[in-house]
Amino acid sequence: MKFEGTDTYVATADLTMAVNAARALQRPLLIKGEPGTGKTLLAEEVARALNLPLFQWHIKSTTKAQQGLYEYDAVSRLRDSQLGDPRVEDISHYIVHGVLWQAFECEQPSVVLIDEIDKADIEFPNDLLRELDRMEFHCYELHRTITAKHRPLIIITSNNEKELPDAFLRRCFFHYIKFPDRATMQRIVGVHFPDLKHELLKEALEVFFELREVPGLKKKPSTSELIDWLKLLLAEDIPPEALRSKEAKAAIPPLHGAMLKNEQDVHLFERLAFMARRKS
């Protein structure tokens, strides 16, 4: 079965190709792209479409590679030993399984999401080379090697905050989700708001793409922000005409706070809108 996108997720041809190639050849897939283009969502949707269990591992700046494999809870064991608990005899009670361990031991193929790998320390990807390559690791406390029963499909997302080491990249397939063009955007919106009035959608997309063209914005609005904004427009029941009145006094689109997330951007935008109004 091939991944073709789902009823709530529009996948372009290049994205489905990357996912299917990674799945067929059992390599990890590295996904990059502007914030809000659906990188994290991809893993959830792939798991849902292919009907596989999903294991998620969200990375923080303090995350260590070891935590994805297993952790030895020494403090609990120490406490149990001081309280004289009989469980203390068996060390396996204190081995906490990480995300990769769970996925490796899973009885069926699974999807593993390693989210925002660039948040971690520079050495983090290097510490996972063998685990991703051979899909096995050694647990020293139990003297046993954990090998994947079924190689999981590993999807890794990155926001480009750090460069990833070459050795790591060599083992991955890579896809950059580029910002959707107008036609794709229309499909995406159609998937989220199936009964949106055609009129409103047209006007909203017009405003949205115009907003992305405004020079000097610190954070351009992305797909997820468009979706939020449309939700608000629907909730407030704004008529399509309100978006169209470009020459009129309302040069600033209603509820623009959903799309501009930075006060400098809002100021800039208001200034530009003011200037445009004066000119006309």
Partner: protein
């Protein structure tokens, strides 16, 4: 056949390795694609390219190899942006469109090369030259049934020929674009973590070892948190010829501010003399003596100067050369004092590296800095940070 393709990519400076070639062959063997070249393009890109900055290079190399088109000098030199700025979009009637005769592919590139050689000025709205909004097959924003689109967004006529020829990833090439984000990534190379200050973090490994040594009684160990301990002095050239580069400098400054905890910044004009200032609005009444700066910050600081270094050579070499005031000592003397105090130093220049040799003052300052002058691009910043981290 694929070996040749692989070597071709290598020759076009794409960082591909044998592993990836094998993976691509494996994918072909697994019948992931049928006979479609478009699918093969997508598959090869997913497997061979590991950085969106290389997408554009891959697109070009792919196009060259599979169309047998030789590398066009025009794509390397890039058409000046000015030509391509959308001046006006001419609306063509259906009739006009039909009139435009479809040129063959080969002929298109032939002509393109010719035009490129002939054309010297910006052009808009015509039907022969490269430019905007015309009916010539070259340029963008216009209409021709089989056009080559050069820069700009597609205006919706959608007759461009192939995905890889659209070159939509051009602005992700890391030698061109500079933004706060890229700068931050580059500056991170300089990170050096150290534990300093009050011990507030539980040291688990230390606690376990301590407890074991203690015969089982809990022995809590604490340690200070990890911080980025790099200290940076930033000197920014302001005013005059630097006005063209304000945005790049602002971005660099805001990225550096959020990245380094110990960052001190000073402004100067053209070159550093006996006085610098911290607030550009009060540059005339709140000057700091450069000596004070030299004495205040220790040798563990790293020195970064940002400026175009373009001035009269006398400003660098002679006393009294400054354009603003009478300086007792030449700025070369002051620069040497700065370099003597902080041995880890770089000069970042917003001008493109190719232009440096034409300006004598840039050559002089570069020499003073022992070649440690870098362009203000992500790639140049990275080299600069590597030089500072050594």
């Amino acid at each position: 056949m694929l070996v040749d393709f692989f070597l071709h990519l290598k020759a076009r400076q794409l960082p591909v390795s044998t592993n990836e070639l094998l993976a691509l062959l494996e994918a072909l063997q697994a019948r992931l694609v049928s006979a479609s070249l478009d699918d093969f393009y997508l598959l090869a890109r997913a497997i061979l390219v590991k950085d969106e900055a290389h997408y554009d290079r891959f697109d070009r190399a792919f196009g060259e190899y599979f169309k047998g088109v030789e590398a066009l000098p025009g794509f390397e030199a890039l058409i000046p942006e000015e030509w391509l700025q959308l001046a006006a979009r001419r609306h063509l009637s259906e009739e006009d469109r039909l009139k435009l005769q479809k040129l063959g592919y080969e002929k298109l590139f032939e002509q393109f090369k010719q035009r490129l050689a002939e054309q010297k000025e910006r052009h808009a709205g015509g039907s022969k030259w490269i430019g905007t909004a015309g009916t010539s097959p070259y340029g963008h924003g216009g209409y021709h049934p089989e056009g080559i689109r050069l820069g700009g967004d597609s205006v919706g006529n959608r007759t461009a020929i192939k995905v890889w020829e659209q070159r939509e990833f051009r602005n992700l090439d890391d030698t061109v674009e500079l933004g706060v984000r890229n700068i931050k990534v580059a500056l991170r190379r300089l990170r050096r973590f150290a534990r300093q200050g009050a011990a507030t973090e539980l040291d688990l490994d230390g606690t376990i070892a301590g407890t074991a040594r203690n015969g089982g009684w809990l022995d809590l160990q604490l340690r200070p948190e990890r911080h980025n301990a790099v200290k940076v002095l930033l000197f920014l050239d302001i005013g005059g010829s630097m006005d063209d580069h304000i945005q790049a400098c602002e971005e660099l400054f805001s990225a550096a501010r959020s990245e380094f905890k110990h960052l001190e910044h000073f402004y100067f004009h053209n070159c550093v003399y006996e006085g610098v200032w911290k607030d550009n609005r009060r540059r005339h009444d709140e000057r700091l003596s450069t000596w004070d700066v030299i004495h205040t910050y220790g040798p563990d600081y790293k020195l970064v100067l940002v400026g175009d270094a373009s001035m009269s050579p006398y400003e660098v070499s002679h006393p009294g050369g400054s354009v603003e005031h009478w300086n007792e000592e030449a700025s070369a003397v002051w620069l040497q004092r700065l370099l003597g105090t902080w041995s880890k130093a770089v000069w970042l220049n917003p001008l493109p590296e190719g232009h440096w040799t034409y300006t004598p003052s840039i050559r002089m300052i570069r020499e003073l800095f022992g070649e440690r002058m870098f362009p203000l691009t992500p790639e140049g910043l990275e080299r600069a940070m590597r030089s500072l981290a050594k």
